[in-house]
């Protein structure tokens, strides 16, 4: 158990609680910086591409985490904002804007348009909001087809390469540079996210999540707070969408479908609602499972000659894992990690009931 003697208010404000914590995070950062070297020596960057994809989804998941995990507003339509970001990025690039301008602008456009779309439904509560965003997500593909002159509709749209001051970045030609680019974007977003959480805005988000009534009684404007959260969330998802476009190289009306929206939501639940770490844990799990299933399948095939091909197995497995998490570990992977850590820190004084949830009636939105 570590005792931190707080001698100034900054001890509570700073990013890291103490030096050791800072050390671990810097180590992790160093590791992330060094990963491409490994693949470079291996001269097989395939897995690096996978890691990059996981990071892109982690960025999108961070966007959703801010909205669902921290503000308590469920969205079943975040793929729509990814689509907005992706298409706007391409449109800006094709209009001749440099990437360094087009990319953030694409995110902001996704944020603005997203907030405009969402403003009327933000008054809605949990289920209604989930439904409205679901409907939005279903309509996305149709709208992309309708807007064919700009989006290419069914035949799709090629995403141009990234060019930063003459430096060309293409996922296939130079996976290392693309990896670093995504890493930098992810880092910047994490920093902004952390800053929000330690400032009044982040606290007003969690306040709205936990009790709208008392948030109001503390002077928090609900509409303002919810739409700020929506804006930031959609912007982040838009940035992830733009990166996703560069990573895919080609997008069509079927790229950003409902399944992607639902996947994002599943990610943050498995990862741990309400924690930035959760976005990453969730994205990692969703990156690993398909690989694991493919490996398991080929293992069965080669060593036992069994040919397992069950369509829908991946989704079924995701779903089982998800239900197990909701039932047995509502705080997600990050929650499990917290418990394990506390166990070792307190050894041998850990008590089983330390993280026990309070039993209560289903949180109601109706008048009692």
């Amino acid at each position: 158990m570590r005792f931190v003697f707080k001698t100034s208010y900054d001890a509570d404000i700073n990013w890291f609680k103490h030096k050791t914590q800072a050390f671990w995070y810097f180590l992790l950062f160093g590791l992330m910086m060094a990963i491409p070297l490994y693949f470079h020596f291996l001269s097989d960057p395939y897995l690096l591409g996978e890691i990059t994809s996981v990071m892109i989804f982690a960025i999108a998941a961070m966007g959703l985490m801010l909205l669902t995990g921290h503000t308590g507003l469920p969205s079943l339509g975040h793929a729509t904002f990814m689509a907005l970001g992706c298409y706007m990025n391409v449109i800006y690039l094709n209009a001749g804007l440099p990437w360094l301008l087009a990319f953030p602008l694409a995110g902001l456009t996704a944020g603005f348009v997203g907030t405009l779309i969402a403003l009327p439904v933000l008054r809605l509560h949990g289920v209604y909001l989930a439904l409205a965003t679901l409907a939005m997500s279903i309509l996305t593909g149709d709208f992309i087809v309708l807007l064919e002159p700009w989006t290419g509709g069914i035949s799709g749209l090629a995403v141009p390469d990234i060019s930063i001051f003459g430096l060309e970045i293409n996922k296939y030609a130079n996976p290392y540079l693309f990896y670093y680019l995504v890493l930098v974007v992810a880092l910047l977003i994490i920093m902004a996210y952390r800053n929000i959480l330690r400032a009044p805005m982040g606290r007003s988000f969690t306040a709205v999540r936990d009790s709208e009534i008392s948030a109001q009684a503390m002077g928090i404007n609900l509409t303002m707070t919810k739409s700020s959260s929506f804006f930031l969330s959609a912007t982040t998802a838009g940035l992830a969408g733009a990166l996703f476009g560069h990573s895919a190289g080609y997008v069509t009306n079927e790229t950003f479908d409902v399944v992607m929206s639902i996947t994002l939501l599943m990610m943050i639940v498995i990862g741990g609602l309400g924690f930035i770490h959760g976005a990453f844990f969730g994205a990692i799990v969703f990156g690993i499972i398909p690989v694991a299933i493919a490996n398991g399948r080929s293992l069965l095939q080669t060593s036992f000659g069994i040919n397992v091909h069950i369509p829908g197995l991946e989704n079924g497995l995701f779903a089982v894992i998800l239900i197990a998490f909701i039932l047995f570990e509502p705080m997600g992977l990050y929650g499990r990690w917290l418990k394990v850590r506390t166990y070792f820190e307190l050894f041998p004084f850990y008590r089983k009931d330390m993280f026990r949830r309070q039993k209560s009636y289903l949180k109601t939105e109706r008048v009692q």
Binding site: V127, L139, E212, G312, A319, I323, Y361
Partner: protein
């Protein structure tokens, strides 16, 4: 003539949507949980019935398969609440939404594995028969859908207003805590409601599969049923049915008379419009939480 035929098939479709929405609303009213897997309940009900009835599977015949399928789905709904949902007291609505979405994935997977992903239709005694009124040809299956829906709705109405358990369900839905204090076994009632809604879903599935082919992804129709439920206002049973019928009728008409692409968009566009203009649905009963 054409118009009337479109209307009839739209009405039949709408009844199926309405029945799915009805199951959805039953659960929402009684437990405040939202079952995003209601469409997959419908799909599973259809496949269970097909499994019992069709010659390719157990071949027991239509009249034995129907009650069996309804019973299986009722038990399934009951057990799902009893075994899974009941343990989620105190968790947020979002968790329940996600849980039921995940359940939908699992049901789709199970149905696909058992009955394959090929579309099949239920073998019924009245397949292919039709009735002619002048120039209008109406399928017996479509008419049956409408008739069964009307009967089922009437039964539910009587059940909720006349039987003791129905009244208890209503009480539990209006105020869980108070009902609990009054000695109503709220948790058991909730499981019963889930069972009832499973049975309603089975009926919807059987109707759906008897008038056309069904495959495991048909559960996604549930999304249209949510739209129906929301259009009608979540808390209202007649509203759900009406919402379903509106969507069912709008779809074929807009695809026939509207510009291309509109018929896919229409149900959700209506949903969004209703949510924006009348956030509580047409039969709105939104209230603020009391402090």
């Amino acid at each position: 003539m054409d118009f009337i035929q479109l209307l009839a098939s739209g009405l039949a479709n709408g009844c199926v949507y309405g029945l799915i929405a009805l199951g959805f609303v039953l659960i929402y009213k009684a437990t405040e949980a939202v079952n995003f897997a209601q469409g997959d309940f419908m799909m599973l009900g259809a496949f269970v019935c097909i499994g019992f009835a069709n010659d390719d599977f157990m071949g027991q015949g239509f009249w034995i398969a129907v009650p069996l399928a309804i019973l299986v789905m009722a038990v399934f709904g009951y057990l799902f609440n009893w075994g899974v949902l009941r343990h989620m007291f105190g968790q947020s609505q979002t968790s329940i939404v996600i849980l039921t979405i995940a359940l939908g994935f699992i049901l789709r997977f199970i149905a696909g594995t058992i009955w394959s992903h090929e579309p099949v239709s239920l073998e019924t005694p009245f397949a292919g028969q039709d009735i002619r009124f002048g120039g209008v040809v109406l399928g017996v299956d479509e008419m049956l859908v409408v008739v069964v829906t009307i009967i089922l709705t009437a039964c539910l109405f009587v059940f909720f207003s006349k039987t003791k358990i129905g009244v208890a369900m209503q009480a539990a839905s209006q105020n869980q805590l108070a009902a609990y204090y009054m000695g109503i076994p709220v948790k058991r009632i909730q499981s019963l409601v889930w069972g009832l809604s499973g049975a309603v879903a089975a009926v919807a599935g059987i109707l759906f599969a008897s008038k056309g082919a069904i495959d495991p992804s048909a559960g996604l129709l549930g999304i249209k049923a949510f739209a129906a439920a929301a259009i009608g206002g979540f808390g209202s049973l007649p509203g759900a049915l009406l919402g379903g019928i509106i969507i069912g009728i709008v779809e074929p008409l807009s695809s026939r008379y509207g510009p291309p692409g509109v018929s896919q968009i229409a149900p959700y566009a209506i949903l969004l419009l209703v949510l924006i203009l009348r956030p509580g649905g047409i039969f709105s009963q939104t209230q603020k939480k009391k402090v």
